[in-house]
Each structure stands twice: as C-alpha cells, then as structure tokens.
C-alpha cells in the first residue's frame, strides 16, 4: 500500500491551480470525486477561454483581418497540440467535434450508414461500453441490417478476450471498444483488439473518453482506425471533443453535418467537400473550446501523462484499501490497480446508491450514482445502479479517507 506522503506528485501545488477546489459545499470543503463525469478546470484553461473572447474573437478560416488570423492560428495551434498529444501522424487526422458522442456518431454515420457496410456484415462491440458507443451503432444496425455482437466480461470486470476468437470473422467490418470502462475502470488491450480487427480487414474504433485524460495514449501504437474523446473530461472546456481518424479513413468517409466550413464548393443542388479534417467541422466551430483544450493539453504535458497515470494508480490502490475496511463495501472491477483507471464503482450493503450520494453530498463529497450511461453493463453486473468515485490529478489520499468516513456515516444513518 502507498503511504500518504509517498505520492509522486505535488498535489497541493496542482490543487492551487483549480479555483473551484477551494470552495465549500454545504458548509464543508468540497471533495470532488466525479471527474469521470467531468473534470474541473485549471485557471490557465479558464483564462484562455476568457482571453479568446476578450482579445481575439473572430471566425476562424474566414476573416481576412488580423483578429481572424490570430483566432485561426490559436485554433489550428490547438489542433497541432492535440495531434502531438495522442501521437497522430498529422494534425489533419484530428477533427474537432462537440464531444465523444458526436465523434462516434460521425464515424457510425459516415463510415457505417453512408459507407461500405452491407446487410450480413457484422460489428463486434462489448458489454462494457458507454451508451455513446452503443447507440450510434444501433443506428447502423437498424439502417443497414448489420448484425451486432457483444464481447462478454468476466465477473471481475475483464473483457473475455477469448470471445474475439469466435466473434471476429470474415463478416466483421467494425470492432469497437472502450479503452477504459467508465464504470469499472478496466483498461482494455486495445492494441491487441485492433490487431485482431485488422487480421480480417475490419476497422477498429476506440472510445478513449476515459483513457486520453488519464494515461499516455499513442494512436499509432494502438493502430486503431478511429479514436474519440472529450475535452471536458481532461481539464478542458465543455462542448469540445475530438475525432481522430487515420487520414485514409477520414478521406473515405462522408461528413455528418453539412454547412459552412466543410465545403470546397457549392452550386445549386450540389456540393464538394473540403479537405480532411475540415469536412467534419460544418458550421462555426467551438473556437474558444478548442483553444481551451489546447491549453489543457499543455497543462497535462507539464505534469507528464506518465505521472498522471502513476498518481491515479497509487490513489486507486490507496482508496481501494481504505474503502475495503468499510463494512458492507463491495467494489466492482479488477483488484489490481495497475490494470484499471482511477474509477471505483461500488455498493454499500443494501443502501441504494442515490441515498449514498445524498448523504455524501451533505458531507461535501461529490460522487456519481446511477447506471453511468452503461445500462447493459449494469444488467451484466446484475445491479440496478452503483455508486462511483473517480479520481484525477487534483485528488488526494486524504479525500479517499474522507470518502471512507462518509460511507461510515451512511451506515450510521441506515443502522
């Protein structure tokens, strides 16, 4: 077990950068343990958004004046930073969307519904996906008569890798998987899964909403065809997300949204698309959001993603240990913290997760309760809901202790 003092990072210094962490909630210091839902923002990110609107707000790629140049430079600069952050070959492989959800819908529509998929083709997914990596594929299933298969999970929360042996066949065209479960924290071997997909000529789509914010991610190493994530879960603003795609995949794919920016030329009744990635950015983009996300990437780079990951492993290990002493605590997911992200889903005796969350709220502790937008996974775990605590760079072992103390209070109320 990690001792409180041996944490690698200077968390207090990091916490000082996040203004919200100094506020109180219901009279108690805020303990924010819901970063898997959305992360808090450092002052630098908040300032960058405000700075954009205060100093150089203008529409990107259109305005023929200095402000527009500055806005375009900052917006495209953010794209470059993000491309480097995930080790894309080129910024052209990074399209801005509003969220992971929009990114996956763009793939499902452009590559699935408008693309080459035919009746009889198959999509292989898993039972542990977030709804945003389930439902867009249901659209494809319904529109194209494509068959879906879902890889199962062991009771401790690992994907049944052997299912891929039988489920991936020559009919498989898409293999989609989350890199890190938003409920269990399980980190899936996406590199291996991408390899399996490619062996039969299928593409591999990775939902990286819970991985890119928390660990080093290298799209070239994974060799996935597409990868999606959101800015707001990685210290960035809301309303900005990323669709990564190999350039050739993006080229062959139809855009989801038509409008300004995404066109090369338009005549009455006919249009030609702009180059990638711009053909996926119809309409005036979320410029402040993209710029803010670029600053969030700078911030994470300054800490170092290896350090972010190491911090969360240590904290998860510490928290699992502290929580296991609480009577009735039942944690889901793998026991080995090195195989999971900083997400702990749990139940506490027969106390309903909503009651747990309300009582913790009065203690100033913010956790999530419910089905976490993963109802098929809840069905697999055979629970209607769980409580979930999730960690990020600014969380401390003391906060894990406060969570444990809060859970003892829950037990007192229901004693």
């Amino acid at each position: 077990m990690v001792s409180k003092t041996k944490l690698l990072m200077n968390v207090e210094k990091i916490r000082a950068d996040f203004p919200i962490l100094s506020r109180t909630v219901r009279g108690k210091p805020l303990v924010y343990l819901d970063s898997a839902a959305t992360s808090q923002k450092p002052q630098a990110v908040i300032d960058s958004v405000s700075d954009f609107y205060s100093r150089y707000n203008a529409n990107v790629h259109r305005a023929i004046y200095e402000l527009g140049e500055e806005a375009t430079r900052a917006y495209e600069g953010a794209r470059e930073k993000i491309a480097q952050f995930i080790h894309a070959r080129s910024p052209n492989e990074v399209a801005f969307t509003k969220s992971t959800t929009e990114s996956i819908n763009t793939i499902a529509y452009g590559w699935g519904i408008k693309g080459k998929l035919r009746e009889g083709d198959e999509i292989v997914s898993t039972v542990m996906e977030h709804h945003s990596n389930h439902v867009p594929w249901f659209f494809v299933q319904d529109a194209k008569g494509v068959k879906m298969k879902w890889v199962g999970m062991s009771d401790d929360g690992a994907l049944k890798m052997e299912d891929y042996d039988t489920m991936i066949t020559k009919r498989t065209k898409v293999v989609t998987v989350t890199q890190c479960s938003n409920v269990l924290g399980t980190i899936n071997p996406v590199q291996e899964i991408a390899k399996r997909a490619h062996e039969v000529g299928a593409i591999c789509v990775v939902d990286a909403a819970q991985s890119v914010p928390h660990m080093p991610v290298d799209v070239q190493k994974i060799d996935c065809d597409f990868l999606a994530f959101s800015g707001h879960k990685m210290l960035g603003p809301t309303g900005i997300g990323v669709l990564y795609g190999k350039e050739e995949r993006l080229q062959e794919m139809e855009p989801l949204m038509g409008g300004g920016e995404m066109i090369r030329e338009v005549h009455l009744g006919i249009a030609k698309w702009n180059d990638v990635p711009f053909k996926f950015e119809g309409g005036t983009p979320n410029m402040a959001g993209a710029i803010g996300l670029g600053v969030a990437v700078d911030y994470l780079n300054k800490i170092g993603m290896d350090n972010v990951r190491q911090h969360e492993v240590e904290l998860t290990e510490y928290a699992l240990d502290a929580l296991s002493d609480v009577k009735g605590f039942h944690g889901f997911g793998l026991k080995d913290a090195s195989r999971r992200g900083g997400v702990i889903s749990f139940t506490l005796g027969d106390v309903h997760p909503h009651d747990i969350a309300s009582i913790l709220d009065v203690e100033g502790i913010a956790i999530r309760s419910g089905h976490h937008c993963a109802q098929p996974l809840m069905e697999r775990l055979n629970v209607p809901a769980t409580a979930r605590a999730s960690f990020y760079v600014y969380n401390t072992p003391e906060e894990a202790d406060r969570l444990a103390a809060g859970l003892r209070k829950v037990l007192d109320v229901f004693a």
């Binding site: 009279g27 309903h352 009582i359 209607p384 109320v413």
Partner: protein
C-alpha cells in the same frame, strides 16, 4: 445548510426498511409501472377500486430509501380516498417536496417528506410512486420519469 436528518427522518428510514402494503394485489382493477431511468428505480402500483374510491392499494418494486418509503406512505395515505381526493393529495404532496406548501403539518404523516425540498434532485424519487398512482388511476399502464 441542508440537514441530513431532515431528509432521512426516522419514519422514512422505517418505511424504507419495512415498507407497508408491499406486495402484489390480486386481482387488481388497475396497475401501473413507474420507472426512473436515471437511477433504475421502478415500482408497480396496484389498485382495487370500489366505484371511484380506492378500496385497496399495494406496490412492488425497488428503489432508494426516499422512493420506497414514499411509496409505502403513499399507499397508507390514499387507501379509502376517492380518485379526486387522491389526486388532490398528490398535488399537495408535490408542493410539499417542492418547498411550496405553506402548512406542511396539515399533510399529516406525509409532512416528513418536507426535507426533500432541500435536495431538488431527490424530488423525482419522492414523487415516483405518486406519478405511478396517477397513471394507474388514469389507466395509463406505465410512466417514465425523465
């Protein structure tokens, strides 16, 4: 500051652990299923009517302490009431959990749910069974609290 004890009153905890009228009613004249997809709570409310009067009422299902105790106390409160009386009581209960009821004590035992008004996100929990009752009275079959 919101008071935990105001939310989890003794009677609420008692009814959540030992819900009353917690069974299927057979035969039932009217039933409805109420679900809160946000938290997975779901209850079925069964009614036996005599004319427009609720002769018997029972419920089954699962949910948090607030939703379960509310369902339990709802069954006690509406048994013997006419449809109009039950719907009127629901209106007043809704005002209570929204913090709009001027005279909570006039609602009798249901007044213990006054504390819910300090936790707006829990209003749906407290009112789920009441919405389900209303659906049963109107023979709607099922409702979903989005």
């Amino acid at each position: 500051m919101a008071d935990l004890k105001a939310l989890y009153q003794e009677q609420i905890l008692d009814h959540s652990k030992n819900p009353r009228n917690f069974h299927k009613l057979e035969p039932a004249d009217r039933t409805a299923l109420g679900r809160n997809p946000l938290c997975g709570d779901q209850f079925t409310v069964y009614l036996r009517m005599e004319g427009d009067r609720i002769a018997d009422v029972a419920f089954e299902g699962q949910g948090c302490a607030i939703s379960k105790s509310s369902a339990s106390m709802m069954t006690q409160a509406v048994k013997g009431k006419t449809e109009d009386e039950a719907e009127h009581l629901f209106d007043r209960f809704h005002d209570l959990v929204m913090g709009k009821e001027a005279d909570p004590d006039s609602l009798g035992k249901l007044a213990v749910f006054q504390g819910v008004s300090e936790f707006p996100i829990r209003v749906k929990c407290a009112s789920l069974s009441w919405h389900t009752l209303k659906a049963a009275l109107e023979s709607k079959g099922s409702i979903s609290m989005e």
